[in-house]
C-alpha cells in the first residue's frame, strides 16, 4: 500500500515536471509571434555571428545575422505543430484500427497484423527517411512519413488490449446481451484503452520530436529559411568551432522537448500504475 502511494506521489512529481516543461515550451511556441523580438527569417549581414548577450539579440545571431532567440521560438512552433499533427493522426488511426483488429473478424485482424508486422520489420527512422525522400523535402513530407511509421505502435497496443479485454466477463456479457461491435468498442473497450494510449502518446512525443529534428537535420524536413530546430542544427554544423552556441541552443531545445515528453510519459505511467499491470 505504502509502496503504491510512493509510486503515485513520485509519478505526480515526474508528471508535473514534464507537464511544466512541455507546457512552457508549448506556450512559447503558441505565443512566438508575440514574444519573439525579431522576424526569424530577416537577414542582416552586418550583424552576423554575434555571440549571446553581446547585442540586442539576447541569444546572439546566426550566420545570416538572424536573431537566434526568435528562430528558436518559431522553431518550437514548427516542432509542436508537427508533433500535434503526427500524434493526432497516429493515435486516432492506430487505436481505431487496433480495436477493429482485436474486436473484428479474424481475416481483418490477420490482414492488419501482417501489414503492421511488415511496417515494423524496418527500423522506423529508415522507413521514414525513405518515405520523406520519395515525397521530397518539406515539413509536410516529414509529417506524412512519420505518420506512416508511428501509427503501428498505437495499433499494436490497442489490438493486444482489445483482444485481452474481449475475454473479460463484462464484455462477454455485453456480447451475449446482443451489443454490436461498435457499441462494445465505444462503451467497454475504449474507456479501458485510453489511459494506456495517453501514456504511449506522451512517451512517443519525445521520439517524434527527435525524428522530426533528425529528418530536418538530414535536409528532408523544413525548407530553409524555416527555423526548425533540426535544420538549425544542420546549418550551424559549419560554425561548430567559431560559433558553438549556434549548435548548442537548438540542440538544448530538442533535449528539453524530449525530456518533457519522457518525464510526462513516465509520470503518467507511474500514476496510473500501468507498467505493473503489464500494458506498457
Amino acid at each position: 500500500m505504502s509502496c503504491g502511494l510512493f509510486r503515485h506521489k513520485q509519478g505526480t512529481v515526474t508528471l508535473s515536471c514534464g507537464a511544466l516543461l512541455l507546457g512552457t515550451l508549448a506556450g512559447l511556441a503558441l505565443f512566438a509571434p508575440l514574444i519573439a523580438p525579431a522576424n526569424p527569417i530577416d537577414v542582416n549581414l552586418s550583424q552576423r555571428l554575434i555571440p549571446p548577450f553581446e547585442s540586442s539579440a539576447l541569444l546572439g545571431t546566426d550566420q545570416l545575422g538572424r536573431c537566434v532567440l526568435s528562430r528558436l521560438l518559431h522553431g518550437a512552433r514548427i516542432t509542436f505543430t508537427a508533433v500535434f499533427a503526427i500524434l493526432s493522426f497516429t493515435v486516432l488511426s492506430g487505436t481505431l484500427l487496433g480495436c477493429l483488429a482485436g474486436q473484428g473478424p479474424a481475416w481483418v485482424d490477420g490482414l492488419l497484423t501482417r501489414f503492421t508486422d511488415g511496417v515494423m520489420a524496418f527500423p522506423g527512422l529508415i522507413l521514414a527517411l525513405a518515405i520523406a525522400g520519395i515525397l521530397g523535402p518539406g515539413l509536410s513530407s516529414v509529417i506524412l512519413a512519420l505518420c506512416g511509421v508511428q501509427w503501428v505502435r498505437f495499433f499494436r497496443l490497442a489490438r493486444s488490449m482489445t483482444a485481452s479485454l474481449r475475454e473479460r466477463a463484462y464484455v462477454q456479457a455485453a456480447i451475449i446481451s446482443g451489443a454490436g461491435t461498435w457499441a462494445i468498442m465505444i462503451g467497454h473497450v475504449l474507456p479501458k484503452l485510453l489511459p494506456s494510449v495517453a501514456v504511449l502518446a506522451t512517451l512517443q512525443m519525445g521520439r517524434i520530436v527527435l525524428s522530426v529534428s533528425s529528418l530536418s537535420f538530414l535536409g528532408l524536413g523544413a525548407i530553409p529559411p524555416a527555423p526548425e530546430w533540426g535544420a538549425m542544427l544542420s546549418e550551424s554544423k559549419t560554425y561548430m568551432q567559431s560559433a558553438p552556441y549556434l549548435f548548442f541552443l537548438p540542440g538544448f531545445c530538442i533535449f528539453l522537448a524530449v525530456l518533457g515528453g519522457q518525464l510526462m510519459g513516465m509520470g503518467l505511467q507511474k500514476k496510473l500504475d500501468l507498467s505493473r499491470k503489464g500494458y506498457l
Binding site: 527569417i41 530577416d42 537577414v43 549581414l45 552586418s46 552576423r48 550566420q63 545570416l64 523535402p137 535536409g219 525548407i223 530553409p224 529559411p225 546549418e235 554544423k237 559549419t238 560554425y239 561548430m240 568551432q241 567559431s242 560559433a243
Partner: protein, 520 residues
C-alpha cells in the same frame, strides 16, 4: 709536476671526448632532423577518393590526375598553355591538321618508352570512352614517325592545343590496359607513381625518379580521404594532414589565419558560381526583369561577408584567371535597389497586397533550385531569397540532391538554379558557350539568340587570336544585355599549409591545384 701535467692531459682528453660526443650527438640530431624534413610526406586532405586508375573517369578527383599522368599539352600554374609530352606543335592554316612532336626519352612508370603509336592508341581509346564528346572533332590520327602524331580534324579547329590540356585526356602506358582495353594500373609518365591505394581511405604516391621534368623534391604525397570540409580542416589543425584545400570550409580561413603555425595561400581560380534564369518561364522572359532582379543583389557586401577569402564577388562573366578572354565590361550590374524597383515598375510589375509584386494577377513567385548538401550554396540561397524580397520577389528554396539538379537543369525544370559555371575545362572559354549554355546546339540552352549563336559560330571558325578575343568580349557583353545568368562569385583556390610547406605555389586552374608538388 709530471703528475700534474698528466692529470691536466687527462682532463683535456676527457673534455675533448665530451665535446666530441656532444658535437657528434648534435650533428646526428641535426642530420636526423634534416633527413626527417626531407622525408616528411605531404599529406593532403581530399574530399573525393580516386575512382580507379583511369584518368578519363569523371569520378576521379581533379587534382590527383596531373600528379600521376601527363597530357600532350598542359596548363602551368598560371593557366598558360605549356609543353608537356609534346615539346612543340603546329596547326595548318585551315585548322584541320594539328601536328604534335613528342618529347624524346620519356618513359612510363613501368620503364616502357613513350612513342607516337602509344599516343595514338590512347586517343583511339579516349575517342570511344567517357570523354568522347571532347574529341568528336578528330577525324583521323596518323603517326608519320616514332615521335610525331598528326590529328586530322573534321572541321577547322583553332584551339586544339587547349582542348588537349584537361587531365582526363592523359596518356597511359600500354601495360596499364587489360585485354578489354580498361585501365587497371596507374602507369603514367607523371612526377609521381602510385605506391598504394586503400579505397575510401588513402592513396599514397611516391616521387618518380625517372620523371622527364626531374625527380620531385617531395618524396611522398598521401591523399587522405575526408569527405566533410569541416572535418578536413579539423584534421589539418590536429596535424593529421599538412595541406588542405579550404573549398567549402566557410569559417576555416578566419580561424586558421590566427594560428601562426599555418599559412593560408590564395589565388583566384577558374570557376564561378552562377544562378541560371529560365528565360522560357513567363515571369523571367523579360530581360528588364532579369536585370532588375540582378540589381537587387548586393554581391559586393554579400560575398565577402558570407564566403570571406574563399570567393570574389561576381563582376565579370568569367573569373580573372581567364586573363584576356574576360571582357573588361562588367557583366553583373551594380547594386541599386531604387533602380531595380523602377525597372520592375517599367516592366509592368506593381506591388500587391502582401508586398509581393504582381502583374496580370500573377504574383512574382520564383523557386530557387539549389544543391541541398552544399552549405555554401544554401547559405547564399537564403541571403539571395532575402535580397529579392526587398524588391517584392518571393523566392521559395527548392533544395535537391546534386545528381537531380543536373537533370532538372537539362530538362529546363527550374525558375532559378544555382550551380557552378561548368564546361570550361581549360584556359579558352569557347567551349562554355558553344557546348555548354548559349548556342542553339549547346547542352543546356540556357538562353539562345540568333545573334549570340552567330558570334559563337564565328568564334569557332576564327584563327586570329585578336579577333577571337574581340568575339569573346562581344559574346560576354551580348549575354550581359540578355542576362540569362547571374554570376554570384568567382571561387578562389585557397589552400592551408603547415609552415614546412609555406613556399607552395597555388595554381589558377582547378586541375593543377597540387601540381607545385612536382617541382624538382
Amino acid at each position: 709536476m709530471n703528475a700534474c701535467v698528466r692529470r691536466l692531459g687527462t682532463a683535456f682528453q676527457t673534455l675533448a671526448l665530451v665535446l666530441a660526443l656532444v658535437l657528434s650527438l648534435g650533428l646526428a640530431l641535426v642530420r636526423g632532423q634534416t633527413a626527417q624534413a626531407a622525408m616528411t610526406p605531404v599529406i593532403i586532405g581530399e574530399d573525393v577518393d580516386i575512382a580507379g586508375f583511369d584518368p578519363a573517369l569523371n569520378e576521379s578527383p581533379w587534382a590527383f590526375r596531373p600528379l600521376v599522368y601527363n597530357t600532350l599539352v598542359e596548363l602551368d600554374l598560371d593557366f598558360k598553355v605549356t609543353p608537356s609530352l609534346a615539346t612543340h606543335w603546329e596547326a595548318s592554316l585551315d585548322g584541320r591538321t594539328w601536328t604534335f612532336f613528342l618529347r624524346p626519352d620519356v618513359v612510363f612508370h613501368d620503364g616502357s618508352p613513350l612513342t607516337a603509336e602509344v599516343v595514338k592508341m590512347n586517343f583511339e581509346r579516349l575517342r570511344e570512352g567517357a570523354q568522347k564528346s571532347w574529341l568528336s572533332g578528330i577525324e583521323e590520327i596518323s603517326v608519320p614517325d616514332e615521335a610525331t602524331v598528326v590529328f586530322r580534324m573534321n572541321a577547322p579547329t583553332f584551339i586544339f592545343d587547349s582542348h588537349l590540356t584537361p587531365p582526363f585526356l592523359s596518356i597511359v602506358g600500354p601495360a596499364a590496359l587489360d585485354d578489354e582495353g580498361k585501365v587497371v594500373a596507374a602507369i603514367g609518365t607523371g612526377p609521381f607513381t602510385v605506391e598504394s591505394w586503400q579505397k575510401g581511405r588513402e592513396c599514397v604516391l611516391k616521387a618518380n625518379p625517372s620523371y622527364w621534368g626531374g625527380k620531385p623534391r617531395t618524396d611522398q604525397v598521401i591523399f587522405r580521404i575526408i569527405r566533410d570540409p569541416d572535418a578536413r580542416v579539423m584534421a589539418f589543425e590536429s596535424g593529421d594532414v599538412n595541406l588542405v584545400s579550404l573549398r567549402g570550409a566557410l569559417t576555416a580561413v578566419q580561424r586558421l589565419e590566427k594560428n601562426e603555425a599555418f599559412t593560408i595561400l590564395k589565388r583566384t581560380g577558374q570557376t564561378s558560381e552562377n544562378i541560371y534564369l529560365n528565360t522560357r518561364r513567363p515571369l523571367l522572359s523579360d530581360a528588364r526583369v532579369r536585370r532588375a532582379l540582378a540589381k537587387a543583389l548586393d554581391l559586393e557586401t554579400m560575398i565577402p561577408e558570407l564566403l570571406g577569402e574563399t570567393a570574389e564577388p561576381g563582376r565579370t562573366f568569367f573569373a580573372s584567371g581567364f586573363g584576356a578572354y574576360v571582357s573588361p565590361t562588367p557583366y553583373m550590374p551594380r547594386f541599386d535597389l531604387d533602380q531595380a524597383k523602377r525597372l520592375l515598375a517599367e516592366a509592368g510589375w506593381k506591388v500587391g497586397p502582401r508586398g509581393v509584386l504582381e502583374k496580370d494577377g500573377s504574383p512574382m513567385k520564383l523557386s530557387l533550385t539549389v544543391v541541398a548538401n552544399n552549405a555554401e550554396n544554401m547559405l547564399l540561397a537564403a541571403a539571395i531569397q532575402h535580397a529579392l524580397k526587398a524588391v517584392g520577389c518571393e523566392v521559395v528554396l527548392n533544395p535537391v540532391e546534386s545528381a537531380a539538379i543536373t537533370e532538372q537543369f537539362r530538362n529546363g525544370d527550374y525558375d532559378l538554379l544555382m550551380l557552378g559555371q561548368w564546361l570550361i575545362p581549360h584556359n579558352e572559354p569557347f567551349t562554355h558557350y558553344r557546348f555548354g549554355y548559349y548556342h542553339d546546339n549547346s547542352t543546356y540552352k540556357v538562353s539562345t539568340s540568333p545573334e549570340i549563336t552567330a558570334l559563337i559560330d564565328e568564334l569557332e571558325s576564327t584563327a586570329d587570336r585578336e579577333r577571337r578575343l574581340e568575339l569573346h568580349h562581344a559574346i560576354q557583353d551580348g549575354l550581359g544585355q540578355v542576362m540569362p545568368a547571374w554570376v554570384l562569385f568567382h571561387r578562389n583556390n585557397v589552400i592551408a599549409v603547415s609552415r614546412d610547406f609555406a613556399d607552395f605555389t597555388v595554381s589558377v586552374g582547378t586541375w593543377q591545384l597540387y601540381r607545385d608538388l612536382a617541382k624538382p
